[in-house]
């Protein structure tokens, strides 16, 4: 994975040709987003100041089209992580804390919301159990070990519910 810290070589590969921007679906939909400009800002170490990093679809078409194979999607993801670590973007956290809570407490982030789906799953033998308590504890230990629980607490400001 490419990170901004290790990115000087990566950034120097960029010749600001703008192929990424011309391929980008978001750039076509709104003038607020320009991946070429984000790489330029990264070179000046200013990318984490940019609001538009949150508009990236993470679709990787910019990387697929880039003539110099610059890891643009990775760069933007790394900027998001750094912003969340430093500032704790309240709006981001508010939007996504539900996903994190669901992952920690139930194990999945998309839940059944329709009785027809529930019935279909039952009839098809697809009622895969959620994590058992021993497995949850084991997962909890793992999350601690890889500092994910700490990371989620820092970033999302939430505790795991038992």
């Amino acid at each position: 994975m490419v990170t901004i810290d290790k990115l000087s070589l990566e950034l120097n590969k960029c010749v600001q040709c703008g192929t990424c921007t011309s391929a980008c679906a978001v750039s076509r939909a709104t003038k607020r987003f320009n991946p070429r400009l984000l790489v330029y800002e990264a070179k000046k170490d200013l990318i984490t100041e940019r609001e538009d990093i949150w508009l990236c679809l993470n679709c990787h078409i910019c990387e697929a089209r880039c003539p110099n194979l610059v890891k643009i999607s990775d760069l933007i993801l790394d900027a998001r992580r750094k912003v969340l670590e430093k500032h704790g973007e309240d709006r981001v956290l508010e939007f996504y804390s539900g996903l994190v809570k669901a992952l920690l407490n139930i194990g999945v982030i998309a839940l059944v919301t329709s009785s027809r789906v529930e019935d279909f799953k039952s009839e098809s033998g697809l009622n895969i159990p959620t994590l058992t308590e021993p497995l949850k504890s084991e997962l909890h230990e793992l999350l601690k070990k890889i500092s994910l629980e700490v990371r989620l607490r820092e970033v999302m400001g939430i505790e795991r519910e038992r």
Partner: protein, 290 residues
């Protein structure tokens, strides 16, 4: 090449969106694998691949890999082969399982395949078993970015057609229509926060599909499928479109072509509105005996 090898038994990792929103994708995948004489197991419990959190920047690649390790060792019984039905799960598991820290350092041996890769590899064999004709379908394929632009290695490119899904559709004699926005994103990953920008991207894609007269969208990603459905439902509510273009996962299209029940197996009633489903089913006619 991806998808080769003699696969006898797999763990099918169903993924959150497919399992809990469109379970017909999971059921269809199981039935297609069974027809290929592959023994299918499911995980003993469900734990998300966590890729949606990673692409938001909330967690890092190292965390996704650790959860993949937990999934494979604790919930799947350390299998040789894992089959996924979602491009996001594919990225999460394949990247983790091919990385040195899990493969060499931890010694995990599992390989990760997308169900589309298994179908692609066996497309001629499966097409010979088809009981339903797909020749009235005009298919617009949408592979989905996290397979089409998979950033960590090679994926299957088209042989007879432009991509993996076109090859499969062509094998079953469906008509594949090309469209301008074929390789663009569904727009779904930013929908929670930037709803208008996201909708505008999805709408542009769907308009491009409608312009060429397609009557079905074929994808291999449940998340993209959900995006197309959500956007169309919204546009229909606003009276900006009259009907919803049915979107099918590749496992569902193949299951239907093999003569499996479009409702009881493919679960199409859970994702295509009644009127549109009736019109779609009318396009499917029995294959004459050889």
């Amino acid at each position: 090449m991806r998808g080769n090898g003699d696969i006898k038994e797999v763990v099918l990792y169903p993924g959150c969106v497919s399992l809990n929103k469109y379970p017909g994708i999971v059921k269809s995948s199981i039935e297609v694998l069974k027809l290929l004489n592959v023994k299918v197991r499911l995980p003993t419990s469900m734990l998300c691949c966590s890729r949606p959190l990673e692409r938001l920047g909330i967690i890092g690649e190292e965390h996704t890999s650790a959860l993949a390790h937990f999934n494979v060792t604790k919930l799947m019984g350390d299998p040789d082969e894992i089959v996924v039905v979602c491009n996001g799960c594919y990225l999460a598991f394949r990247r983790a399982l091919e990385a040195d820290d899990l493969k060499k350092d931890v010694g995990l041996r599992a390989k990760c395949y997308h169900i589309a890769e298994i179908i692609w590899r066996n497309r001629q064999y499966l097409a010979e078993k088809a009981k339903v004709k797909l020749d009235k379908l005009k298919v617009a394929v949408h592979v989905g970015c996290h397979y089409l632009f998979y950033p960590h290695g090679d994926v299957i490119k088209g042989e007879e057609g432009e991509d993996i899904l076109e090859d499969i559709a062509l094998a079953f004699n469906a008509n594949v229509v090309d469209y301008e926005e074929r390789r663009s994103c569904c727009g779904g990953t930013i929908v929670k926060w930037f709803r208008e920008v996201s909708s505008s991207i999805s709408k542009r894609k769907l308009e491009s599909i409608m312009e060429v007269g397609a009557n079905v969208v074929l994808t291999m990603c449940p998340y993209c499928l959900r995006t197309f459905n959500r956007v169309q439902q919204r546009l229909k509510k606003l009276k900006r479109i009259e009907s919803i273009m049915p979107t099918l996962h590749v496992s569902q299209l193949v299951a239907v072509a093999l003569g499996l029940d479009p409702l009881k197996v493919a679960g199409l009633h859970l994702q295509v509105p009644a009127q549109e489903l009736e019109a779609l089913l009318k396009l499917l006619t029995p294959q004459p005996p050889p």
